[in-house]
């Protein structure tokens, strides 16, 4: 069984593909409908960020098995401009594109673990985990 599968994000419809992949994996792992919705929404946010700010990148979904519990890991990575002020983007209501500014802090709340790694001019990688309870 393969543990990781990826979707390249190049145009807007790839967001739907990434979402679909996430939903399928979440279903396989046995997540309930609410958590499925949380996971797909989180993927949607991350994929859209890639599409909007970096132009292109990829979203990978990984199944995790750790110490008797299983979970789903989302890795959203791009080689875009990076995030200049990480603290600011994690604030609610901050947006550079006129959106709601709920994306990243929202994803953090939707998932159990959230990790952001960004370098100016190099790119961004976001890892978020949802554990199955």
């Amino acid at each position: 069984m393969e543990f990781q599968s990826c979707v390249k994000i190049i145009n807007e419809w790839d967001i739907v593909a990434a979402r679909q992949l996430g939903r399928n994996v979440a279903k396989e792992l046995g997540f309930g409908t609410v958590d499925q919705a949380r996971i797909t929404t989180a993927i949607s946010e991350l994929a859209r960020n890639i599409y909007l700010y970096a132009g292109q990148g990829k979203v990978c979904i990984e199944k995790l098995y750790e110490g008797g519990k299983s979970g789903l890991l989302i890795i959203a990575s791009d080689e875009g401009p990076g995030i200049p002020d990480v603290r600011k983007v994690m604030e609610d209501g901050f947006s550079t594109s006129g959106g709601l500014g709920a994306g990243l802090p929202g994803v953090k709340r939707l998932m159990d673990e959230f990790d952001l790694d960004t370098t100016i001019g190099k790119g961004t990688e976001i890892r978020a985990i949802k554990w199955l309870r």
């Binding site: 807007e12 419809w13 739907v16 979402r19 409908t33 609410v34 499925q36 919705a37 949380r38 797909t40 929404t41 949607s44 946010e45 859209r48 609610d92 959106g99 709601l100 500014g101 709920a102 994306g103 802090p105 929202g106 709340r109 939707l110």
Partner: protein, 277 residues
């Protein structure tokens, strides 16, 4: 066209065909064979080689029409382009191998023959790829139109009350259409209340929410109420998690509740008729 190759193919036609079918069957993976019966595979292969040969004998137009038919058929059968392409390559290999084996080609002529064979096969390859991509493009554009048609209908259900049911993914293009249709509809139907039903929207992320908030605000500006219905429990939870503020919009969990509320706003109600003797 090189006379040598022409004659060789013509004379050894059935042998080439047999070898080709044999080789291709080995190459074809499970997925391909499973969906297609042996007869179909054979007859299609036959047609394929026939088509290649017709390039030698028939006129250009006839060959093109054969090629079109074949490409359409193969696409319908769901044969991958890679496989068909492989078939062309295989044919070339067999012919070339046969020519060398029979000693019809000597060292000096080798390059010339390879060049000729290549210039005979390449246009065919291009045409097959072209055909495939044309058919795909057609399918995609048809689907796009189909999608647009079910994009954002506005339905006047009662006097001064209209409903916009949304089904499927909302992208930037659709969001624009929703806004446009909504505002035009509100004005044309003289609606007082507009209900946006999102039962069929699979994911409500910040972008979708943002578009809905904007649409509701615009509706308010033209003097009507906007209500959001069909918020499924899991969607409600994700909206809360995301921290999206929908306080400005009246929300209901079902369209039925929405219509009841809309009637209330327009000071009407649905009453049961008393039986008349």
């Amino acid at each position: 066209m090189n006379k040598l190759i022409y004659n060789y193919i013509k004379e050894n036609r059935s042998r080439i065909l047999d070898t080709w079918i044999q080789n291709m069957r080995n190459k074809a993976d499970e997925r391909l064979i499973k969906g297609v019966s042996t007869e179909v595979f054979e007859s299609t292969s036959d047609e394929f080689v026939e088509m290649i040969i017709s390039r030698l004998t028939e006129k250009e137009e006839e060959f093109l029409s054969l090629l079109t038919d074949f490409a359409e058929k193969v696409v319908r059968l769901g044969w991958p382009l890679v496989f068909v392409n492989e078939g062309l390559k295989e044919f070339e290999k067999i012919v070339y191998g046969g020519l060398v084996d029979q000693g019809l080609v000597n060292q000096d002529k080798l390059l010339e023959v390879v060049g000729d064979l290549d210039s005979f096969m390449t246009p065919m390859q291009n045409e097959v790829v072209n055909m495939y991509s044309q058919i795909w493009e057609k399918t995609v554009s048809l689907q796009k139109i189909a999608l647009q048609e079910l994009s954002a209908p506005l339905i006047p259900v009662l006097d001064r009350i209209t409903v916009m049911p949304l089904v499927g993914t909302i992208d930037t293009e659709r969001a624009k259409q929703i806004m446009e249709n909504l505002l035009n509809g509100v004005v044309n139907h003289r609606s007082e209340v507009v209900l946006i039903d999102i039962t069929g929207v699979p994911v409500v992320d910040t972008m979708v929410a943002h578009h809905i908030i904007q649409a509701a605000e615009a509706v308010r500006l033209v003097g009507a109420h906007c209500m959001l219905c069909g918020i499924r429990p899991e969607i409600a939870q994700t909206i809360v998690n995301l921290g999206i503020n929908l306080n400005e919009i009246t929300t209901k969990n079902s369209l039925q509740k929405g219509i009841e509320a809309a009637l209330e706003i327009t000071s009407r109600q649905i009453v049961e008729m008393e039986e008349v003797e």
